[in-house]
């Protein structure tokens, strides 16, 4: 799909004016979602309380609630951006429309690594969490790609998705097996099976920022390389691209983003799957546009899902990972529907 489109249209899709219009719209949507995320929750708050909370007051319960929602909103936005971007890069690197850090089991790998670290190696510092998670994500990514690309036709969507699903189920079983006997960490068992942004604090956000920044940089810098890769390995090599190096750096960036996000939020699936597909409809297949849009789109999706999760399960709340799966899985099925049999 990507290949034919980019050969047919030299400008890789859409006129820039249209893209700028979309950019403004998406930024506006992002602002609205942030506002909603601060304003809506289990407890109703007034505008005065929100403003007071932004000024650092936490005198009333309402203001305290808003004070807790601010870091949550920030985390949802950056985590969503990281996952959206990570998914877009993975789809680009593998030229596979079903690639997503959740579906490929990469987030679960990160979660298992953290859980093992917690249970057996007494992991405590947030920095150690993040390194462990990135390590787990990287190992899982390599594993799933190797399994999925064996045999003829390389990594077809079916093989990759199956390898990812199988790995996810195994990893989820291992996570349960590690956590179940340990009463001291069993409390957190749920948060390592389904991702959420509920427990966000500015401390944890600051801890992952350098990692995310590195990941964003690696991914965004490889946009042009991904455009070449979309033409196929031979053509990309003919254009002077060092194919393996380009793949490796872009994947590394995507894995850092997925791993670091999972270290803080737990495994969240389908954001990275769904957002790039929608963004491709908006701005076309040029990765220089697609990647930033996927980041913005991911932020919007995760913020909106988080708000929905707070509304539909009142007085409790639903972890954002559940909402994204519910929204994302139908899109997954839709993408599968659009493909012809031999391309699966």
């Amino acid at each position: 799909m990507t290949t034919t489109a980019s050969i047919r249209a030299p400008d890789l899709g859409r006129p820039n004016r249209l893209r700028l219009a979309w950019l403004l719209l998406v930024l506006g949507l992002l602002g609205i979602c942030c506002a909603l995320s601060v304003a809506i929750g289990a407890r109703d708050v007034g505008l005065a309380d929100i403003l007071a909370a932004f000024n650092g007051l936490a005198d009333t319960i309402e203001q305290a609630a808003v004070t807790k929602r601010i870091p949550r909103t920030v985390l949802a936005a950056i985590a969503g951006a990281a996952l959206g971007l990570s998914g877009a890069v993975m789809q680009g690197v593998t030229r596979n429309p079903l690639a997503d850090p959740g579906i490929l089991g990469i987030n679960m790998g990160a979660a298992l690594a953290v859980v093992v670290g917690l249970a057996w190696f007494g992991l405590a510092a947030a920095q150690a969490y993040i390194w462990t998670a990135i390590f787990g994500a990287a190992v899982t990514a390599v594993f799933v790609f190797v399994i999925g690309s064996l045999g003829r036709g390389g990594a077809t969507p079916l093989k990759l998705a199956l390898a990812g699903t199988a790995t996810s189920i195994a990893l989820a079983s291992f996570i349960t097996a590690v956590i179940l006997p340990r009463n001291d960490i069993a409390e957190g068992a749920r948060s390592w099976q389904i991702g959420g942004v509920g427990g966000a604090t500015f401390d944890t956000i600051i801890q992952i920022l350098p990692f995310l920044a590195a990941g964003f940089l690696l991914c965004l810098l490889s946009a042009r390389k991904l455009n070449s890769l979309a033409l196929g390995d031979e053509l990309a090599a003919g254009l002077g691209e060092r194919v393996m190096l380009a793949r490796a750096t872009a994947s590394f960036g995507a894995v850092i983003l997925a791993g670091a996000t999972t270290a803080i939020c737990g495994p969240i699936a389908f954001v990275g799957l769904l957002v790039p597909h929608v963004c491709r409809l908006l701005v076309g297949v040029d990765h220089r546009w697609l990647l930033p849009f996927s980041a913005l789109g991911g932020a919007i999706l995760l913020l909106a899902s988080d708000v929905i999760g707070r509304i539909i399960a009142r007085p409790g709340e639903l972890d954002v990972g559940i909402v994204t799966a519910f929204v994302g899985a139908p899109i997954f099925i839709w993408i599968v529907q659009r493909y012809r049999g031999r391309d699966l």
């Binding site: 390898a163 189920i169 079983s173 291992f174 179940l180 519910f326 099925i333 049999g341």
Partner: protein, 345 residues
């Protein structure tokens, strides 16, 4: 090359050897299931000698052992067997009918849909026993129909079926989480039952409907065993052999879905039992005769052994689904690797 008499004799000899092997393996499997069943009744935190177990089963009053064996272990063992047989049968029926080991009900989302429906019926509709089971079977028939309709195209049925099923399974999982989070308290044990399957706290009220359906739908499936074998040769061949292809297909799918749904309503979607039983059974028996009965026995054995291991051998107490999930996933990966090499997927 003309077929000579020696060829015919050679084929006959191979067939006889296969038939003997099948009989022997079936007998061994049956004995193993019985042995595992007996072990589940006897062993545990306290050991009850076999003679005492038999006396208790016959109704004698042996004091504390009565509670351990009669109330705790017996329903658990029976549920393990019923669920294992159902998953094994249902899984093998799907795999044979769709001619793809990956097209098992737990991978294409049918088990998860039964589980989601069951947990919805329990938490939201406050049903129990047979009501839950009927709700589960209705929902999973609808979901199965949905998945099949979405997957029917001119090409790529198998791949599309599996991928659509993965998506459906994800939706069902989030429904399960959602419903459980609406319950007054988050009960981790309950959650695990509906997410990965467990025979903890088995009660006769749950077992009854599942056992009944095992008998009914199981006989339907077994009566269609030959049709299933013929369908495996391809639609045209089956029709040429006098099979009413569509009728058989519909009957087989309905029976298999009913088996899976009722077993799931009782024990949860015990991870990968439906998926593993068929291929393991075929490996043991060889490609001779119907895979249904060997798969059913393998399923029962898997659930019994995995549950026993989960309870007593692994240090902590794990529900059976965690054990089978950890066992089954590597096999799934192995299957992907092998089928990639054989270039069939």
């Amino acid at each position: 090359m003309p077929v000579t008499e020696t060829d015919i004799l050679a084929v006959g000899a191979i067939r006889r050897r296969q038939a003997t092997r099948r009989r022997i393996v079936l007998a061994i499997l049956a004995i193993l299931v019985l042995a595992a069943f007996a072990t589940t009744l006897m062993a545990g935190k306290s050991f009850v000698p076999p003679l005492e177990v038999i006396q208790i089963l016959l109704g004698a009053d042996m004091g504390g052992a009565n509670f351990t064996v009669g109330t705790l272990r017996l329903p658990r063992a029976v549920l393990s067997v019923v669920a294992g047989l159902s998953f094994g049968l249902g899984g093998a029926a799907f795999q044979t009918l769709l001619r793809n080991p990956l097209a098992s009900p737990d991978i294409i989302g049918i088990s998860s849909s039964a589980s989601a429906a069951a947990v919805f019926a329990i938490v939201v509709l406050s049903l129990d026993g047979a009501g839950v089971a009927f709700f589960a079977v209705t929902a999973s028939l609808v979901v199965a129909g949905f998945i099949f309709v979405l997957s029917f195209r001119r090409s790529g049925f198998g791949a599309r079926l599996i991928l659509t099923g993965i998506g459906v399974a994800a939706i069902c999982q989030s429904i399960i989480y959602y419903v459980l989070s609406r319950a007054p308290v988050w009960d981790a044990a309950e959650a695990l039952r509906w997410l990965t399957g467990s025979v903890n706290g088995a009660a006769w009220g749950q077992i009854g409907p599942a056992a009944l359906v095992l008998v009914i739908a199981g006989s339907v499936l077994l009566s269609r065993a030959r049709a299933l074998e013929n369908l495996r040769l391809g639609e045209d061949t089956a029709a040429a052999l006098g099979e009413r292809v569509n009728l058989s297909r519909v009957l087989i799918i309905m029976a298999a879905v009913a088996l899976i749904a009722f077993a799931t309503a009782a024990a949860g979607p015990v991870a990968f039992v439906a998926f593993l039983s068929g291929p393991i059974a075929t490996r043991l028996v060889g490609h001779y005769g119907s895979a249904l009965i060997p798969s059913a026995l393998t399923g029962a054995l898997l659930v019994l052994v995995a549950d026993f291991a989960g309870q007593y051998l692994l240090g902590a107490r794990f529900p059976v689904g965690v054990v089978t999930g950890a066992l089954g996933a590597p096999y799934l990966i192995y299957l992907i690797v092998v089928s990639n090499r054989a270039e069939k997927t």
